[in-house]
């Protein structure tokens, strides 16, 4: 009865699926970064950065801009160098004696590793939020006031009060703590502590905020709050965030940078990277494939 049914149903239709190139091959073939490493309105610029811990090279020839009013997410497997790179951006690696950084890094054209640049002042301009909330063993008020005090940003108590209140508001924590400024910072919940640390960072009027896995110790609701806050902060700061959560990178960033074994494999618009990555290694990582 049906004239060609058998022919159609039994015609082989197999995916042409050869074995994927070995990931190490793809890595060895890697010559430079895929995509545009520059930002439209760069706040920080880095070029040909190499980082060594003793004899071991942790970062290979990375060039990447961090733009004003944008969030750039740095993703990659453990040990890929994303945190090392982030820490170089405010000279946190200076505290590690064996660490050596070469190449150029600048903030508004000023050499980060130049002799005239004071790293303490740099860290006020380029603030950092860490994986685990680390409030000082002081009151909520003093945690936020600490930076402005040591940098002499307030000439009297009223000014200092303004800075503390303003920073807590920007960090979305003010309403929750306004009645207990004198309570210890450590009495807050994990998510609140992390927002307190963000308030502490904001209090010294930084230009750039670096975040190293800021939500990995938080529950989904606290995470959503921090992500919302990151999006608000973007209006006033340049933000670089290192995260293990690809969904988080996709949610909060405008640009995404993929690191692999110390090399910057691909940089691109976040929408592009998560729908149509250009490099095989990026594709393998964000889709959870072997590699």
């Amino acid at each position: 009865m049906s004239i060609v049914a058998d022919d159609i149903l039994h015609r082989p239709r197999h995916l042409d699926m050869p074995l994927k190139d070995d990931a190490t091959d793809a890595f060895e073939r890697l010559t430079g970064t895929v995509g545009d490493v520059t930002a439209d309105d760069p706040k920080m610029r880095t070029a040909n950065v190499d980082v060594f811990y003793g004899a071991k090279q942790a970062i290979h020839d990375v060039s990447l801009d961090i733009g004003n009013n944008e969030v750039i997410a740095m993703i990659g497997p453990s040990g890929c160098g994303k945190s090392t790179f982030l820490r170089c951006l405010n000279r946190m690696n200076d505290t590690i004696p064996s660490c050596r950084v070469t190449g150029s890094m600048s903030l508004d054209g000023e050499d980060l590793y130049g002799a005239e640049l004071d790293p303490v002042l740099l860290r006020a301009r380029v603030g950092m939020v860490f994986q685990k909330p680390n409030p000082f063993a002081k009151s909520i008020y003093d945690n936020v006031a600490y930076g402005p005090r040591i940098h002499g940003l307030a000439s009297n108590r009223a000014e200092l009060d303004d800075i503390v209140v303003d920073s807590l508001k920007k960090a979305g924590l003010h309403d929750e703590v306004k009645d207990r400024f004198e309570a210890p910072g450590t009495s807050l919940s994990g998510g609140q502590q992390q927002r307190l640390c963000i308030a502490r960072t904001i209090a010294v009027s930084p230009e750039v905020i670096l975040m190293d896995e800021p939500c990995s110790a938080l529950d989904p609701i606290a995470t959503a709050r921090i992500e919302e806050l990151i999006d608000e902060l973007r209006q006033n700061y340049a933000i670089a965030i290192v995260t293990h959560s690809m969904q988080q990178a996709a949610r909060v960033s405008q640009r995404t940078a993929y690191f692999h074994l110390g090399k910057l494999v691909e940089v691109g618009d976040t929408n592009q990277v998560f729908t149509n990555p250009r490099h095989e290694l990026t594709e393998n990582y964000i889709t959870g494939r072997f590699g």
Binding site: M1, S2, I3, V4, A5, I8, L9, R11, R13, H14, L15, D16, M17, P18, K20, M246, Q247, A250, F274, T275, N276, P277, R278, E280, T282, E283, N284, I286, T287, G288, R289, F290, G291
Partner: protein, 237 residues
């Protein structure tokens, strides 16, 4: 990034889920092709029994669409697919919508072939034209599904380009039918049914083009809908 590597996820279960979805789409494609072939055969051979069977079997196509849609929703909710996995899911959701509509057109062929049997007069002049149009769209549909199965961008673009031939054939047939209608208005009911059959075939060609466009999106990550063929050809061929 020309291959999907569906078997390379760290999660073995995710591999299975995607492979299952892909297999079901191919199964649905095979079923729809069979429906179109049978509908056309019923029309051309005046086989009312086969026509009724085609109309009756459309529910199988519909059921597969619902089933695949649901599985895609589950993958989106549970796996948050990205990159080629995401494009595969988006492509499948679109391909099955077009396949379901092709199924509806096949059902129309089946129903009209039954109706046409009821009207006494023969339709000698049109069998050859309908057969020609039918063969064109059947091969387009088959090639579009092959291009999807093999992720073959070249084949997808070449197949989509054949829709011009289908449209030309359809327009010629439409003109013939319109002339006939003016000459012999008593046959209006029958001529309309033949026109609708021709129209159904022409629409199958359009749906095949859509499937080809999704294949390019799946493999290349580029949406070529509403782009001129010359531009697409110069970029991808």
């Amino acid at each position: 990034m020309d291959k999907l590597h569906l078997d390379q996820h760290i999660s073995h279960q995710f591999n299975l889920e995607l492979e299952e979805i892909r297999n079901k789409v191919l199964k649905m494609g095979g079923l729809v092709e069979q429906q179109v072939a049978n509908g056309l055969s019923a029309l051309l051979e005046a086989d009312g029994e086969l026509g009724a069977l085609v109309a009756q079997n459309d529910f199988e196509v519909n059921a597969l669409e619902v089933e695949i849609d649901e599985e895609c929703t589950h993958v989106l909710a549970r796996r948050q697919p990205a990159a080629s996995d995401l494009r595969l899911i988006v492509t499948v959701i679109k391909v099955i919508t077009d396949l379901e509509r092709v199924g509806d057109e096949a059902e129309k062929l089946g129903r009209f072939s039954v109706d046409l049997l009821a009207s006494s007069e023969e339709m000698p002049g049109y069998r050859k034209d309908l057969r020609h149009l039918g063969e064109l769209v059947r091969s387009m549909l088959g090639d579009a599904l092959d291009a999807f199965a093999r992720l073959d961008v070249d084949a997808a673009i070449r197949t989509a380009a054949r829709d011009d031939d289908v449209n030309r054939e359809y327009e010629t047939l439409e003109r013939l039918l319109a002339t006939h209608l003016v000459e012999d208005p008593r046959q209006v009911s029958k001529l309309f049914k033949i026109t609708w059959c021709a129209r159904a075939l022409e629409r199958i060609g359009d749906h095949s083009v859509n499937i080809c466009e999704y294949v390019v999106y799946l493999v290349k990550g580029r949406d070529i809908r509403h782009t001129s063929f010359d531009k697409v050809r110069s970029e991808f061929l």
